[in-house]
Symmetry: D2
Subunit: 343 residues, 4 copies
């Protein structure tokens, strides 16, 4: 590596294009030399050209087999992640993989083993850790400004529910949506979750129940260090993407507010009207995606550890599985419950 | 009643003096004609005189037996509440009673029966309903501005822990502190709690455990209307009294922020520094106490229902009992659990 | 004086009743023993009785001549202030006088001379100095937290314009409304004004011009210490009473925001709607009036200097006169301009 | 033009590189085909290559004479702007020119005449109009939400003073710094300035006086429609780049707050500490530069008017000249003053 990380992009759907555009135009030291997509079409080829990606392919092997490629961005569908990670690891390439690594534990474990064996890097796409506000909360807590951590709270509500066609395959609210928050509470508390209790309901749309899912959930968590946590999710918050975190400790509390579309306020006889939060994750975490990519590129070029690794990807999935079982049984579930740690 | 409510004040401790001073100077239509305290002393007599209370007594019977007294404020210790309510009801007097009515269900029930039989009014001192910010949140939700209610959240954290001598007799965090929040979630959701799950720990001070208590707790609640709720309490929030509520619904969210000591902000190279929240309940709910008293006096003078009644007092205690059992068993507990509904 | 300041209240109009009620119920150590009003009527007598004032009179001499009265609150019409100050001073009574002392310099000067000669105290009713937010701004600046002061800004806008019958006799926007802000910039800058430039217009209602007045004005000020200042006033701000101050200095800036009716915020698809500022000065400066009265009573009882004295009353009037001349001439006017310092 | 605007970039200093990078990576439909700089060096050539600019030159004529170039971005030093505008106009190219067009009126006028004669577009770089918060304030006012405009206020303070070597040639605070705010008040008020009064001083650093300049200034403005305005500038605000605007009108007020580095708040016993404003114009107006460039490219490709034209460039310079004369004479100065309208 000579100061430029030569990247192969796998998957040119929405998230693949996002990473691709950012890497080409905003991330110094990154260069995508090939983009592969099993469903390559004219639209994807046109996009690739527009961002200066010289080569396109239908076959990821064209990336894995290319000795000039240093790293891969795995942005294909979740069910392909584990195989691609294993393949990329064998090929000696550093790996950025979108979350989740997989939805079953055995696939995650074989991915992590392959990565370890190959001695390559694996960064998992928990993008919210790179949001400047969440990061500032983390940094204040991690640097001891609030002393010992007592409680972590995460409010995470989407502006609009996904279509039912998505819900059907999403893996459920804990695996698909709250998984970000499970990572967030680990990030903010600096400790591991030991037990969860989940309460949920179909308040937005009863059709979620048709897929065994809920649209609203509150999960209470216990941490190894004794701290407590709580996360609330809702699939539909019509006032906008609600993304707030709080950490309470012995010396104080650090929390953040939503990022608004603008800072203007209209004061009339009706009150003072401010802007809505930035619409959804593409807007709110726009800058965070770039920071995430920069962190990966920097870790590869400087041979430093990645900031979010395979273990983080595993832990979030385990918590999601425990939350699922808790919802189904109506009881708290420990993370070492055999139903959680096995597939 | 001729436009003035003649009141007998029972109990001249901190809360009794607070109600007494307010009633005498800030509540139109109220007049305390006698103040009784089992432990009457010179200091209490001096205070009574300073606020214009003409008569003092060691014996509450002097109040109950006085046909010129229309209503009583029961501000004595919790263990006396039920007997005084029963006695006042029999005497035909309207009753304001500080919370809780009692810590066991049978005492509450005999109080409510006596009140019902006598046809008098009973208002319970859930003062937070009269806070202008919490009330504005309630009013927005109750008037349909956020549509169907999905989730209610209450963050309620005291600035400093009470002395262990108090903890010993407090009845525990749920009965002593979170009871206000149990009432608040009923007020905000417009629905009854059906099940609770409580997680807690001694994070502030391990001595709470000596009394079987916790200092930090998160309680998840389910409501009859399908909504979910969550309350977090901590005995010590060194940044100040943290009192925030949120209601999320199908059309939006209404929430409040803490009331600060002042609205000044100092911007320097270190950032922007604002004031702390008003210190504790006497400061934060200073105006709410007056509104609470006005509401009682108005209800008595106009023969309208009181805004917070005996049933509200009972329900909050039942939720507290369920939360206690949940903490002890590590399981969710229904409100109709026999351990909850019996003493 | 034996720990209680015996007060004579002169004038039972709106502001007189406000001071009177506060002094009787909220200011420890204060006791109004007589209230006088040239236009005493049943309503005023009823009010006096309701707040526990034993004696009423049509003749202020009943107050001045009463050797048991320690201090007077002059709340009568502006044109009577100077004579009453002189009379009270001769009678050896400490004086609280509502602003302005007078609208012409000679009346102010003879008032101040009488006060000085008698060795009594004179506090002028610049109530905003006692607002907790403005005071916090002042305290931060005065204690050096922003270093040398560069610029002071005051935004002061009334929610609704007074009736034209009031405008006719008000003395104009500078003497009637901005006079509070002239005192505020002196308070915040810690320096004396040397020159002003006033721009104004009739934007709200052209009828202000009928009385030679404007309804909107911006005044730029220069201070002895080199700092600059700016004040903007408007007679009508339909979104509520807008009262914000800023002080900029070499190390930072301290400013305040309006006090809102409550801290609730309603977030919907339309944005986030917060409450309006507290309506007008009676609401916004409600607590400040009490603090002002307490400060006077404390100064009298402890024989300490009053926090806002006669010189402050004079200075604000001189600035108002200079602003008036600037508006009329379209030129900056110095405070030592003979038209300013003479009547 | 076939959907792509072929651009020649003139000047590769800080602002030229900023526009260049944005145009290449973030502005759809833009393509820089040549970049010219009188002082071309290796660093500039390297930069050009890194953003995909194929051709570099020392001679702007290589751009003007190239028939394949549709538009130019003039980012060279101010003294070259007028000549380059005239030359580009003659060559039939659309023009984006950084502010100011020139510091003397005759140069501006000959630029505007050349542009008009050639029928090309000229957009002037008043980037703040494209800031999302300022724009939201403008849009609310322009759409009538606050009714008739009464007062416009702009607070604009730089985080740190420029070096004296810059001050020497800057043209003074009004031409160099406040010129943005002069454009802003025209933008927000929807009206033309008729008279200004400027007060200023050297509060930050007495060395500004060595160059006949001030470091702190307050300018009061009158508008054709009767509205009033005020701008305050300071060369050094150590708490960060302070960029706030307010518009007051008959129905309300719309204003904005600074954009902060993040939305985290740390609450401890010392108060609540939030982040500083984003550091300086490159950070605060980062997105606005892109919006500005997009607006120009869109206007060129769709043959629509540019949002900020040559007249806007002229007007801001005239106001700056009037402010300068006011500061020197201590008197208000009209915009039609011969000293303002002539060189």
């Amino acid at each position: 590596m000579n100061g430029v990380l030569r990247i192969g992009l796998i998957g040119m759907g929405r998230i693949g294009k996002l990473h691709g555009s950012n890497l080409q135009s905003l991330v110094k030291g990154a260069e995508i030399v090939c983009a592969a997509d099993l469903y390559l079409d004219e639209d994807k080829e046109r996009w690739a050209k527009s961002v200066g990606i010289a080569r396109c392919s239908r076959d990821p092997e064209d990336i894995f087999e290319d000795p000039d490629i240093d790293a891969v961005f795995i942005c294909s569908s979740t069910d392909t992640h584990a195989d691609f990670i294993v393949r990329a690891a064998k090929a000696g390439k550093n790996i950025f993989c979108e979350k989740p690594i997989a939805v079953n534990v055995s696939d995650i474990n074989r991915s992590l083993r392959a990565v370890e064996k190959a001695g390559v890097k694996l960064q998992v796409g928990f993008v919210r850790r790179f949001d400047k506000s969440h990061k500032a909360v983390h940094d204040a807590a991690a640097s001891g400004k609030i002393g010992k951590v007592y409680v972590v709270k995460v409010c995470s509500r989407d502006p609009e529910a996904p279509p039912m066609s998505y819900v059907e395959k999403s893996g459920g609210i804990f695996m698909d949506m709250m998984i970000h928050d499970f990572d967030m509470v680990r990030y903010l508390s600096g400790s591991e979750v030991t037990e969860v209790y989940a309460a949920g309901g179909c308040l937005v749309d009863s059709h979620f129940a048709d897929y065994g899912d809920v649209d609203t959930a509150i999960v209470t968590l216990r941490f190894e260090n004794g701290a407590l946590g709580v996360i609330d999710n809702c699939r539909q918050a019509p006032y906008g993407y609600d993304q707030r975190v709080e950490v309470h400790g012995e010396k104080g509390c650090v929390r953040d507010e939503n990022q608004l579309e603008d800072e203007a306020r209209l004061a009339t006889a009706s009150g003072t009207l401010g802007a809505k939060p930035t619409w959804f994750f593409l807007e709110r975490y726009n800058d965070a995606f770039v920071e995430e990519e920069r962190a990966f590129v920097k870790a590869c070029l400087s041979d430093a550890p990645v900031p979010v690794g395979g273990k983080d990807g595993l832990k979030a999935v385990l918590i999601a599985k425990a939350a699922r079982k808790s919802l189904e049984t109506g009881r708290p579930v420990r993370l070492d419950d055999p139903d959680v740690t096995s597939d």
